[in-house]
């Protein structure tokens, strides 16, 4: 043991002799600091976690190149140079030679991780990450980074030992390129060989589901454990191989032992891959089943093919309890409007996510036989006592956890999940039984698009219904698209949500925080990295909303909560936003930070209760076709804010709009010809001191309803319809009526 430490001291001493090596971790830290500097800005743009992850998917990978070169250099420095051959006569074992080089180089490479840690701690504090969040995020990056260094270094040492000529450097370079960018870009992303991500040297790939702050590494915990276990054994295999190979080159009393050890470690390494391999088999089996049973869409038309149901549901009562074995038990009680169902042979069909195991179905309290076909539950109404059944109540008891891995639009992700640690259950996950036969996924009959997997398909099969949902046993507070009406002393005891909606979304996890302002009823639920952005966003929104609250009927909107994080929202138009119940869901991605554009998106949703943001020419063309000024009237609310509350002149507003200063202030219609200058009319009213007239007119239209509904998906159907249609005559009529009243 003493000689091992002595050899280690020598290796460290020799490394220290290369002083330039110590510049590299400093440069790395400085680079990271520069990369994260945008989060320091008082405006607080940028998701710190995502930025750190993206840095690791590119710049960190370069440091693995350092590891590769260093490993080869350490071997070639003395083990392959004739002048140092005499050292093999010293009483140092091959084990000592290899492992001390590994330890010394690993210690050096740890400096990069230390550098990263210091920078992330600094920016984490600035971005007000809670300490548990900072700890968890750092632990993830540190463990992955260190493991990546260990694997790369071990591979480099093996290459250095086995390849004596200088071509070793080229082969090492190729190994590094293959194990990082090639696997990532060509095999995993390009050829969609997703299981090969296990062999990526660092797991920080360019389109990784781990990049999700809410449901990234915490959700993929099991997969990460399998990968890390395999990586550790692979590292051991590389080191043992190097030692065994060196023992072949000089007399050793332990040659056979090391050869046997190599075989033993090889077997263990292969065995260590098994859990990861089994995981991928399960995933692909599930994917194949899902695609095989998905809705086959023609590219041209999208038609709802749900089987109609005669059941009319009055109220849903949903109970979710996390059992002692961390398996959820759900009890769904559907209160129906009285239904007369004729027997015999009638079958009720429900759609429920196939990952749940249905234990019992009760019709009016009596157990009924059922069968399962994928996502569908068939309930056989026979045999019952009377010929006519008046169904008043249906109960389903089912259990299970939910983790739905799918390739969606070519990207692998766990679309929906319910575990004790975190939850994302939107209604399109069909986590509660919905009457009828509904397809959860669709695939397109096109070989290229089919190879992308499936995409979530959802037609919102329910009319607005009352929901009462009670959840118990979750480790973190839950949020919902419905209002929370009750909770235990500690919200982790239980939470109850109620409301009327077409469906319910539940989400929760330790990375979620709720940001609120005093005297502002609207809150925003997001991840810790978005806290400062959310505060700034909410402050701006509060200012806007207070202005509108002062002259619009109250409440302005049903929306009380905004959810902003990375999630797979339904494939519907428009993308990236949806209103459900009292919640507005905004999908976080690089392009949609909580900036002015997002503020205006939220504002439009809060004012008009839809997600039509008029950034699309097709919407404008529909307005133009209908000769409707609806879009202009909606935009006029924002014009009035700029003109009245902020005091900009008409010319300043128009000039700013041309330069896209106000992202959603729409100047012209589709044809770029103003058919009526609503803004000029409002401007004149404000100039003449008749701001109240403008407000009353807009309030009148708001009262009548400015929520835009768009039927059909404009990208899949040629028959889309946009309502309401408000003609310019309608506008002028109301304007003049309030003008007369003012006079």
């Amino acid at each position: 043991m003493k000689s091992w430490f002595q050899q280690l001291r020598l290796e460290i001493r020799l490394l220290n002799g290369q002083s330039y090596l110590y510049l590299l971790p400093l440069l790395y830290g400085a680079w990271l600091a520069f990369h994260l500097s945008s989060t320091v800005d008082a405006e607080g743009y940028g998701n710190l976690f995502v930025l750190v992850f993206q840095f690791h998917s590119m710049q960190f990978v370069l440091t693995l190149g350092v590891a590769m070169i260093l490993g080869i250099l350490l071997i070639r420095r003395d083990l392959h140079r004739a002048g140092y051959g005499w050292m093999r006569s010293l009483p140092i074992t091959s084990f000592t030679q290899v492992t001390t080089k590994f330890a010394a180089a690993f210690g050096y490479l740890t400096l990069f991780t230390v550098s990263m840690t210091l920078v992330v701690v600094y920016y984490g504090i600035i971005n007000e990450w809670p300490w548990p969040t900072l700890r968890d995020h750092l632990l993830f990056f540190i463990v992955q980074a260190q493991l990546a260094y260990a694997v790369t270094l071990a591979l480099a040492l093996l290459l250095g030992v086995t390849i004596t000529s200088r071509i070793c450097y080229l082969i090492g370079f190729c190994a590094w390129m293959f194990g990082t960018f090639f696997i990532d870009l060509v095999l995993v992303t390009g050829m969609r060989a997703y299981p090969l991500v296990t062999f990526h040297l660092s797991q920080f790939t360019l389109s990784s589901p781990l990049e999700n702050e809410m449901s990234g590494y915490s959700l993929f915990q099991y997969e990460l454990i399998t990968i890390r276990t395999f990586a550790l054994w692979f590292t051991a295999l590389m080191l043992v191989s190097a030692i065994a190979y060196l023992n072949r080159l000089r007399p050793s009393s332990r040659r056979r032992q090391w050869q046997a050890g190599f075989i033993f470690i090889l077997i263990l390494t292969i065995a260590a891959y098994y859990p990861n391999g089994a995981l991928w088999i399960d995933r692909y089996t599930f994917q194949q089943e899902t695609i095989a049973e998905s809705l086959d869409l023609d590219f041209i038309s999208a038609e709802t093919v749900s089987a109609p149901t005669e059941l009319q549901i009055r109220e849903y009562h949903l109970n979710i309890i996390n059992g002692p074995d961390d398996t959820f038990r759900l009890h769904a009680k559907l209160e129906l409007a009285p239904n007369e169902l004729n027997q015999p042979g009638q079958t009720l069909t429900f759609t429920l996510n196939r990952q749940f195991h249905v234990e019992r179905v009760l019709l009016n309290g009596a157990e009924a036989p059922l069968s399962r076909e994928g996502d569908f539950i068939r309930i056989d109404l026979q045999p019952l006592e009377s010929d006519i059944l008046v169904l008043e109540e249906i109960e389903l008891l089912y259990s299970g956890n939910l983790e739905e891995w799918l390739v969606v639009d070519g990207y692998p992700s766990i679309a929906y999940f319910m575990t004790p640690e975190q939850v994302y259950l939107p209604e399109q996950a069909y986590w509660y039984p919905v009457p009828g036969q509904h397809y959860r996924y669709a695939s397109i009959d096109n070989s290229f698009l089919t190879s992308l997997g499936a995409y979530p398909y959802y037609e919102s099969p329910l009319d607005p219904i009352s929901f009462v949902v009670k959840a118990e046993g979750f480790q973190h507070k839950l949020f919902s698209s419905l209002r929370q009406v009750e909770s235990g002393n500690d919200s982790l005891d239980f939470q109850t949500f109620e409301g009327k909606s077409t469906g319910i979304t539940l989400l929760g996890g330790k990375q979620l925080i709720e940001v609120s302002l005093p005297e502002e009823p609207v809150t925003i639920v997001t991840t810790s990295s978005n806290k400062r952005s959310a505060e700034r966003f909410l402050t701006t929104l509060h200012e806007h909303l207070n202005y509108y609250r002062s002259w619009l009927d109250s409440p302005i909107s049903d929306v009380e909560q905004i959810f902003y994080q990375q999630m797979n929202l339904p494939y519907q138009y428009p993308y990236g936003a949806v209103i459900k119940g009292h919640a507005l869901f905004l999908e976080e991605n690089l392009g949609s930070r909580l900036d002015d554009y997002t503020t205006h998106q939220a504002l439009i949703s809060l004012l008009f209760n839809d997600t039509i943001y008029y950034y699309d020419n097709y919407i404008l063309s529909l307005d133009e076709e209908n000769k409707s000024v609806t879009s202009h009237i909606r935009s006029a609310f924002f014009y009035l804010y700029l003109r009245d509350h902020l005091g900009f002149s008409h010319q300043e507003i128009i000039a700013g709009a041309y330069f896209d200063v106000y992202p959603l202030l729409m100047l012209h219609g589709y044809t770029n010809e103003p058919n009526l200058d609503i803004y000029a009319m409002i401007d004149q009213a404000v100039t003449e001191g008749n701001t109240e007239q403008a407000k009353k007119v807009l309030r009148e239209f708001h009262r009548r309803g400015l929520t835009v509904s768009l039927t059909g998906n404009p990208y899949f159907s040629t028959e889309s319809e946009l309502k309401p249609v408000i003609s310019k005559e309608d506008w002028l009529l109301v304007w003049k009526s309030f003008a007369n009243k003012m006079n």
């Binding site: 000689s3 020598l10 001493r13 051959g85 005499w86 006569s89 009483p91 000089r250 007399p251 332990r254």
Partner: protein, 294 residues
């Protein structure tokens, strides 16, 4: 005692480098002579537990090289033909590292031994300077010092005086002679003077085989009758030069032409006036290489 029994070494292709080599080495300084490619360095490396033999055995103090090489490495000190050391270390740092590796854990004892060896080899004043500032002769002496560190029972040196000036050569020979009193020293060299002054016993290696082993006196006796001298004019020499059995050792000018020292196993191929002379050790070595005494 070192017992080498039917040692063979063959690399991937080509003839064996060592062929059924058997040798016994007792306490004292043992010289190993041979031409380039004879297999000396291969034999040295095998004995230093760097290379494994293809077959045969080597036993040192009842320990088998093939079965217990790790134990043997604790007994061996080795100086190679080409010696390099980490340039960024000082001489003392390097020696201290080797001492600790060899198990000299007691600090005072270790320091004393290191300083003693460095002084003995005239490196005391350079001990705390980096090795990259050393001349090639200094590095060679440092190599000898590390080989002697830990009082190894077997010291194996390959071309130990290479790169040393005459004064240092003399010094080293004295050091080795003193060091070899109670231990085995195997010295492989081209320089006959090193053998002459130090080695009690000698082996001559040629094409992987031992062609002589014994004392210096026995080597000289083996070459007796093989070394001749003849005075010839240049034109006369030409008719003898092509004879395969006649090998020219040395030529010096004389009044009548040149005096040639020749080796031959067939005196009939020589001029009539050629006379046998007493061979020097070098003459005897060359004669033995040429087949004398086998």
């Amino acid at each position: 005692m070192i017992i080498i029994d039917k040692l063979c070494k063959q690399f991937k292709s080509g003839p064996p480098v060592l062929d059924q080599l058997s040798l016994t080495i007792d306490q004292g300084i043992f010289g190993l002579l041979g031409p380039n490619g004879a297999g000396k360095t291969t034999l040295i490396k095998i004995m230093a537990a760097i290379l494994a033999p293809s077959s045969g055995s080597i036993t040192m103090k009842h320990l088998s090289l093939t079965k217990e090489p790790d134990k043997l490495r604790h007994m061996i000190g080795y100086l190679p033909q080409s010696f390099q050391v980490y340039p960024q270390l000082t001489g003392y740092e390097f020696m201290e590292h080797i001492a600790l590796i060899k198990g000299l854990t007691h600090p005072r004892q270790r320091q004393q031994e290191i300083e003693g060896l460095l002084d003995q080899l005239n490196l005391g004043s350079k001990a705390y300077q980096k090795v990259k500032t050393y001349s090639s002769g200094m590095k060679q002496r440092l190599g000898i010092a590390q080989a002697m560190l830990g009082q190894p029972e077997v010291l194996i040196v390959d071309e130990p005086t290479a790169g040393l000036d005459p004064e240092e050569k003399v010094n080293l020979r004295n050091v080795l002679s003193e060091f070899g009193e109670n231990r085995i020293i195997l010295m492989s060299t081209h320089i006959v003077a090193d053998i002459e002054c130090c080695c009690q016993r000698i082996a001559v290696l040629n094409q992987g085989r031992i062609c002589f082993q014994g004392t210096q006196k026995q080597l000289l006796e083996a070459a007796s009758g093989y070394v001749w001298e003849a005075e010839l004019e240049e034109a006369e020499w030409i008719q003898y030069a092509d004879k395969l059995s006649v090998k020219l050792l040395r030529t010096r000018p004389s009044a009548k032409g040149f005096v040639h020292k020749l080796i031959t196993d067939n005196p009939n191929d020589l001029p009539e006036h050629a006379v046998p002379i007493d061979p020097t050790l070098e003459d005897a070595y060359l004669a033995v290489i040429g087949g004398a005494g086998q």
